[in-house]
C-alpha cells in the first residue's frame, strides 16, 4: 500500500508539481487548496504525511497546523510546510504550531522526495 500524502497549497501550479513529483516517487497524493479544505480532506482518508503551504487564503498554513495538532487523530503525523528563505520568523512560528519539517522554496523535485522520505522514514 503506498502511503498517502495530503498536499495543501493555494497555487494550482505548485499542487500540480507536488502531485506529479510525489506520485512519481510512489506516493498517493490528495490535494486541497487551503487549510479549511485541507482539514476536511484529512478527515476523509488515512493520511501519512501532510505537506502545506503557509501563505494561503481562507485558512493559512499556521492555523491549519494548529487545528490539526489539536486533534488526537493527527498526533504524530508528520507535517511538512513550504516556506521561503525570507520567512525565517515564520519557520519558528510554524514549528511552534506543531510542524515537523519544512522545505524551502524554490526546491527541486528530488528535494521534496528527500524530505518526504526523511520524515516518513524510508
Amino acid at each position: 500500500m503506498p502511503k498517502t500524502i495530503l498536499a495543501v497549497d493555494d497555487s494550482a501550479s505548485m499542487r500540480q508539481m507536488i502531485k506529479l513529483t510525489l506520485r512519481n516517487a510512489g506516493y498517493d497524493v490528495i490535494e486541497a487548496a487551503d487549510g479549511q479544505e485541507g482539514l476536511s480532506q484529512a478527515r476523509r482518508a488515512k493520511i501519512h504525511m501532510i505537506l502545506t503551504d503557509l501563505n494561503m487564503p481562507v485558512m493559512d498554513g499556521m492555523v491549519f497546523i494548529r487545528e490539526l495538532r489539536k486533534s488526537p487523530a493527527y498526533t504524530g503525523i508528520p507535517i511538512v510546510f513550504v516556506t521561503t528563505e525570507s520567512d525565517a520568523e515564520k519557520k519558528s512560528q510554524a514549528k511552534a504550531a506543531g510542524a515537523t519539517a519544512w522545505i524551502t522554496k524554490p526546491f527541486q523535485p528530488e528535494q521534496l522526495v528527500a524530505v518526504a522520505k526523511k520524515v516518513l522514514g524510508e
Binding site: S13, M14, D34, N55, V58, S86, Q93, A99
Partner: protein
Amino acid sequence: MSPTNPIEIFKQEAQELLAQLEATLLDLDCTPDDPDLIDAAFRALHTIKGSGAMFGFEAAAAFTHHVETVFDQIRQGKARLTRDLIAVALRARDHMRLLIERPEKADPAAEEALLAALHDSLSPGEAVPVVPCEAAGERVWRVSMRLPRDAMINGTNPLLLVDELRSLGESIVTPVTDTIPRLQEIDPSACYMAWEITLKTSKPRSEIEDVFIFVRDEMELEIALAETSCEDAQGKPDAQEPTPSGPAEETLSEREPPEAPAPQGEADAHATPAEQQRVRRETTKNHASIRVPADRLDELMDRVGELVITQSRLKQIAASSSDQQVRAVAEEIERLALELRDTTMGIRMVPIGSLFGRFRRVVHDLSRDLGKEVELIMEGEETELDKTVVEQLNDPLVHLIRNSIDHGIEKPADRIASGKAPAGQITLSARHAGTEVHITIIDDGRGLNRDRIRARAIERGLISADGALSDAELFQVVFLPGFSTVSEVTNLSGRGVGMDVVKRTIEALRGRIELSSMPNRGAKVTLRLPLTLAIIDGLLVRVGDARYVLPLAAIEECVELPADDKGGSRGCSFLNIRGELVPFLRLRELFAAKTPPDRYQKVVVVAAGDLKAGLVVDQVIGNHQTVIKSLSKLHAGIEMFSGATILGDGAVALILDIPHLVQFGQIAEEQLRAAA
C-alpha cells in the same frame, strides 16, 4: 502545450496574480495607506517570487524579490507608499510580466533602471548568508541529542533520526534513559529519552547537522569531535587524519536558531477580519470554477455546432416520416441539442469586467503622461459576452479610451476655465440589450471638433467642400481609412491604429459602432455587439432555388407583398407599413434568381439601428438554428453576407448581413429619389 504542465499552469497563475497586483496598485493609488491592499500586493509578489523560482523563472523571481522587499518594508511601516513609488511598482509589474512571458525581450538596462528607482525610494538591507564549507576526512564525532517532549506529537520520529545518523557511517548508539518517569506518570506520546552516538564518518559536520535540520531549533544537540586518544582507547586502531582545527572551536551548543531571525512584526500571523473576509469571498468564487484551456471550449463549441447541424438533418428526415416514434425522438433530440447549445454558449460567456480592469492602467499611465486628471468609472462589469468577443475588444477599447483622454479630456486649467471640475471623467459601461451588448465610452471633455473634422475630411478628399452633412454623417467620416485630425501624431493615439481599424474590428465581430458628441460636453461612443459569434437563431428563407438565413434578432415582422407591387422591376421601392414608408429590396433581383417567382412574395422587415428595410423573398421557411461558419478570406470582401451555414440536407445557406443590406436599401432609395 499540455494543460497539466505545472509551468503552463504557473504562467496562467502568474498572469492572474499580475493582473491582481495591477488592480491592487491602482487601488492603492487612491488609498495609499490601506493595510489590506498593501498586504494583498505583498502576497501577490510573494507568490510570484516563490513559484517563479520553483518553475525556473529565476530572473523573474530575483527581480520580484526586490519589489517584494520594498512592499515588506511598507507593510511593516518602515517605509511609506508614495504615488511615485506606485508608478515605479506598476512599471516593475510590467517588467515581471515580460520576464515571465517573454524573457528574451526583457531589457537588462530597463531592469537596472527600475531597481535603481526602487532603491531610491527605499534602501533595503539584505544580508546574503554565507554557507561555510568544511574539508572532508574521516573523523570521529560524538553526538549527543535530546528531543523536546512534544517532538513525537509533532510528527518527528526520533528513531528515524538515529537511523539516519547511523547511515552516515560506523556508529555506536547509547540511549540515555534516566529521564524516563515511572510508568503511571508516562504520557505515551511524549519523548523522554535522549541518545549518545559515536559516529565515524568522512562526511562533514554540516551533514550531521542536516540530520537534525527540522528539529535543531528546539532540541538539545551537541556535536563534538572526539579526541584521538579517546578514539584509541575505544579500540579503533584506524589511522586518523589529523584534525586541523582546534576541538574547542568545533563544540557548540545548538540552542540558537541557525539564521537568527530578526524579531520582526507578526503582520502575517493575524490578518484583519476584513481582509480575511475578502479573501474568503475570493476563494469561494474560485472554488466554484475549474480551469479549462480555451481551445477545448472552442472545440466543444465546434462539436455542438456539428450536432446542431446533424440534428436539423434528423428533423428534416423525421418530418417526412410517418413513424410517430421517430418523430418523438427527433423532437426530444432537438430539445436536448438546443439546451446543450445554450449551456455551451453559457460556458463561453465571460464577464467583461476582466477586460475593463485593464483600462484602469491605461487611464492611469496616460493621464500621468499628459498631465491630465482622469477618473475612470466602470459600470456593468458583470455583463457577460462571448470570450472571443471580449478578447477582440481589447484593442478597439484601448484606442477609444486613448482618444478620449488624448483628444477629449482637457487639461485641468482648461477645464476650470470652461467651468468644469478639474478632473475629467470617462465612463465605461456595458449592458445587455436584447441579443446585443452595448458598450459605451462617455467622456466629459470638449467633444468632437466639427470644424476640424470637416476641414480635415475636405483636405483629404473624403467629402466634397460644398456638401452639407449632418453631425451623424460627418462623424462617420472619422471612421474612414486615412483620417486623422491630429496634425502632429502623438505617440499615444497615433499608433497606426486609426478609427477605421476600430470600426473594422467591431464589424468583424458583427457589431456596429456609433459616435455622438456635444460641443464642450463630451463625446459618446457606443459599440453594439452580438452576444455570441458561434450560433444564432435565424430565419430561413428561400429566394429562387437558394436558401438564405436572416438573423432572427434583426427581424421585425413578415408581411405579404401587396399584389400591385409585384410587377416592379426596379431594385428598390417602398412599402407602407402602418403608415411608415419602408424601402424594400427584391432579393430575387439582387441575387439574380433565374427560376420563376412564387405567386405570393413575402417581405421580411428587418432593422439595423434606427433604419428599416424590407427584403422580398419567395418563401419564409421558418426558424433555423444557425451555426455560423465564416466565409473564406477570398470572400471576405462580399459585404452582403456575413457568413454561411450548413442546412439539414447538407446544402449551404448564406447568412445575410442585415446592416449592410439596410444601408444598401437606403442608398438605393436615395439614388431613386435623385433620379426621380
